[in-house]
Amino acid sequence: MIATAWRVTGVGFSLLVVLTAGLLYGTDPAQTSFMNSPVGDLTIGFGVRTDDLTVLLLAVVGVIATCVQVYSLGYLHQRPASYHALVTLFTAAMVTVVIADSLFLLLIGWEVMGACSYLLIGHYWERRDARSGAVKAFLMTRLADVGFLFGIFVLGVGAGTFRISELDPAQISPGVLTTGTLLLLVGVVGKSAQVPLQTWLPDAMPGPSPVSALIHAATMVAAGVFLIARLYDVFSASDTIMTVLAIVASVTMLFSALCAMAAVEVKRVLAWSTVSQLAIMFSGLSLGTADGRHAALFHLVTHAAFKGLLFLCAGVLLHQVGSAAFVVLRRYTRRGRLRKALPVTFATMTVGLAALAGVPGFAGFFSKDTVVEAAWHHARDGSVVGWIVLVSVCVTVVLTAFYCMRLWLWVFFRSPALAGALGAFEDDDPMADLEEPDTSKLRDAPWIMLAPLVLLAVASIGLGYADGVQLNWVLALVTTVLALLGALPAYSLWSRGADPRPVVLEREFGVDTAYHGLFVVPVRWFARLAVGGDQDVIGAYVRAAGRAGTLASQGFRRLQTGNVQTYLTAAVVGVVALAVVAGVISS
């Protein structure tokens, strides 16, 4: 009953968001503030605004949320009430972020999203990886949000206002501007899982797949991109911040693409690819030009569509097969069952991967090309940042094509070299049941789950043309060749049944271990120190005070020997001493 109510509310709310976006489309930008309280010279309050960016993001959020809510109706059977409630709350929080004109309102939405993300990752709280992934996600983003909050302070106090529409980079001194935006960038990096706070996103994958699609691919992690786009004037006013952003984005996109190449679980591959694609958006933003911003937002929209689609497809695999690990999927694939049993999923996932890999004609191709083009224009003007972005995006195109091809082939196709075997993934799970699974019961998902897939697949193709096709044919040719360069090795490895995975990539460069050693272990150590300190140092003072009182009382009791003469002696000594003291004082 409650679950049904929440289901209806959830779907209804996301449709409402789409409707609002539709209604707001084309209206003039406007903003209003309310509930303001003066605090000293500053004003703490809320404000909302509408403009093109708001409408765009509202549409993206609304559509993806609707798809996810509908999809979840078929996908989720465990604790649906809390699930749908939280997804709805998340959607509301994202809407808050999108429409906020007050930095504090934005922060509220920003962090409520984080909390919802935490709760939804931990939806399957029976599972250990879900619990730890949830905690990790929340703590890392929270750490970044501290920087974000300080950034708000620096900018707000520097500008004298916390209204986004009133932030004028010209009126903020350059030092304050750089500091503030740098701190904001910390929050953005955390939320969007960029280097060095990237490790939470892959670990967030134990959450339900629709949640991964909505929160960890399409919307929440893209909120960082949104924020920079929203505060683009402020961010682009500082060259330092743009350079930092470009470097972060370049490192991240290469790093995570490399990690994706060695991941052996569909959702983990997709998670790393999300990180990588987000970095491409950031690299577009880091150009500091209107073209770059446009390219980044374009990529945000298409990415939301195709990455949402891919995660929902992975959800179908999880739902129908029970796992998205390569090793399990191969058991079905080696008999060629998976493709035939799940035709719609196969088709839509192919579309999604094609879009991700940048196959010409799909949305991802166009949006990525706009980024490359913007970078090229910028680089041609002699900008180092432009060159950095251009080169790293091009390399990423190669890597992306590689892991997309690898994923597609290994999951859906029998390897001609190793027709019957699990292939290179046997070692992953020594306990794996090598028996033939019962494939006869494998069916495609119910229509309520497939409908969103189809919708998003259509979007993954169609969105590429939404902006009008303005291609720089040379660049398009170059990226296509680059993508082919990436796809071919993947094909050749697969056809030989080999999947070489360098250890350093499998361990994802050892970042997690390092963080554990650098932060978690010392904090635990300090925690024990704090408790020990309380008990043994501060507590000891208190106990010592008590014990000193007892001891003193015992000592003074000992003076009561019962010998009257000692008492008298003491009294006389006292009198003499007092007399001496009185004499000393009076003289």
Binding site: M35, F104, I108, V523, A530
Partner: protein, 501 residues
């Protein structure tokens, strides 16, 4: 107006006396019902005291007018007056006190302590209520001190008699430590008050606020240090917090709720009401140290929480961290910091009250508050209580949109922009450390949720007797939950009250 204030001061005392005086034995529930009626009337009275029209109006109150003033000589030979009044600083705290006591009495209607003697417990709660409201409305230093002390003994008895029934020695020790440390603090505070009187010639807070004791050294500094240390014991500030975990952990549920929700506020209220306005220059001198200790409290309290194995102790230690934020806010002496401290006072009272109610409920159901013995997977066994615990944890870790956020945010903002006389660089360091403290806060609350609520239910099968959220619990907690959300989304409800501090 002043009749209402005098009424809510006198009513609990008289009601408690009447409750004790009744010769026949009264059923536990009847006593609790009586207590709820009395405290309910007090709650209504305190709400009536709230300035009319100020509920939602966003007009800035330029000066904080004192209302409901009663000012009569009390001990003329000592220059002590019975001067009570309320203003926008004390008003929310009084309402919070009345609310929490009311909820505690209501809670006791159904859920009585195992030790029994509910009649005395209710009477003591009423005495505490009167004492706390008296402290919050006292405008005379000696009266403040007297009310401050009135609260102490009943609380001591509550811990000593109705505390943890598995550990009589422990609860006695906790109660003794509590009472001794607090008395030590109040003795120092009284000494400070006497120094102030010697310097200024009056005990009247209003007069002292209007013509403060100037000078940041000598007698004024000594008085400020004494008052600050005295209050810091009550707050409690690291390293004077050692009484708190024991006292909270051993106290009965209602005791913990009042202790955390109300009693800790006496210290911070005293700092804001007395130290800052009466000794402004000396406060500037000691503020950096106060801020430093507060920051250490934030970090040390959070770290200590990370290693706790007892749910009530954990929440108690979390109070150390949160009160550290309040101390830091006061020490910034900036508008934002002081408002943040006041806001965090209220928010902490509500959220920690709720947390202690929840911890008490979990403890009652499992007969232990040890995390390992309670086991995991409360989401499966007690889904609603576990969900509320998660909610309260999120609120307590300062999630924006819930009440806990605004206080901490304003405190950090205050630390970013402290009063001009204070060293800004130092405060920036404090701000960063306190910000890291919020991450640690999140860490230990998530650890709590992970170790208590989540987990494989197969390992811990639901006990037969464990019932989920009962109606009285829902009724008692609902106001706190509602206020947590309300203050979270509408901070202006309180913030705009404090026009000029």
């Amino acid at each position: 107006m002043n009749a209402i204030l005098l009424g809510i001061l006198a009513l609990p005392i008289l009601a408690a006396a009447a409750l004790w005086a009744v010769p026949v034995a009264i059923a536990d529930r009847l006593a609790a019902l009586y207590g709820s009626v009395v405290s309910g009337v007090v709650l209504i009275g305190s709400l009536l005291l709230w300035p009319r029209g100020a509920w939602a109006s966003y007009t800035t109150l330029q000066d904080r007018p004192l209302r409901a003033v009663t000012d009569v000589p009390w001990i003329p030979s000592l220059d002590v007056r019975f001067h009570v009044a309320v203003d926008s600083i004390s008003m929310p705290l009084i309402v919070l006190t009345a609310l929490l006591v009311f909820l505690c009495c209501l809670y006791s209607v159904r859920i009585t302590p195992r030790i029994g003697r509910t009649r005395s417990l209710i009477a003591l709660l009423l005495v505490i209520e009167a004492g706390v409201i008296g402290t919050f409305s006292a405008m005379d230093l000696v009266l403040f001190f007297v009310c401050f002390e009135i609260v102490l003994i009943p609380m001591w008895l509550v811990i000593d008699i109705w505390g943890d029934d598995h550990d009589p020695a422990g609860r006695r020790r906790a109660a003794t430590t509590f009472v001794l440390m607090t008395v030590l603090g109040s003795a120092l505070m009284l000494l400070g008050f006497l120094l102030v009187h010697r310097k200024a010639g009056t005990f009247d807070i209003v007069q002292l606020t209007n013509s403060p004791v100037l000078g940041g050294h000598g007698v004024a500094l000594a008085a400020a240090i004494l008052i600050a240390v005295g209050m810091a014991v009550k707050v409690p500030l690291w390293p004077l917090h050692i009484w708190l975990p024991d006292a909270h952990a051993k106290a009965p549920t209602v005791g913990s709720v009042l202790l955390a929700g109300v009693l800790l506020k006496l210290g911070t209220y005293g700092l804001i009401r007395i130290l800052v306005p009466v000794l402004p220059d000396a406060t500037v001198t000691i503020a950096p140290y106060l801020a430093g200790f507060s920051t250490v409290a934030i970090i040390a309290g959070s770290l200590a929480c990370l290693a706790q194995t007892d749910v009530k102790r954990l929440i108690a230690y979390s109070s150390v961290g949160h009160m550290g934020f309040i101390g830091l806010g006061i020490a910034t002496l900036s508008p934002a910091g002081l408002r943040g401290a006041l806001f965090a006072n209220i928010a902490h009272g509500i959220i920690t009250g709720l947390l202690f109610f929840l911890a008490g409920a979990i403890k009652d159901r499992h007969d232990t508050s040890d995390l390992r013995e309670i086991g995991r997977a409360l989401y499966a066994r007690l889904p609603r209580i576990a969900a509320l615990l998660t909610f309260a944890s999120l609120a307590s870790l300062g999630l924006p949109g819930l009440a806990g956020f605004w206080g901490e945010m304003l405190v950090l903002l205050g630390a970013y922009n402290p009063a001009d006389a204070l060293p800004r660089a130092t405060y920036l360091v404090f701000m960063v450390l306190a910000g890291l403290g919020t991450v640690l806060t999140a860490a230990y609350f998530l650890r709590l949720v992970r170790n208590l609520c989540q987990g494989d239910p197969a390992d811990h099968l639901p006990a037969a007797f464990a019932v989920d959220l009962s109606r009285i619990e829902l009724a008692t907690w609902a106001p706190l939950i509602a206020l947590t959300v309300l203050l979270g989304v509408w901070p202006g409800l309180l913030l705009h009250q404090w026009g000029n501090l």
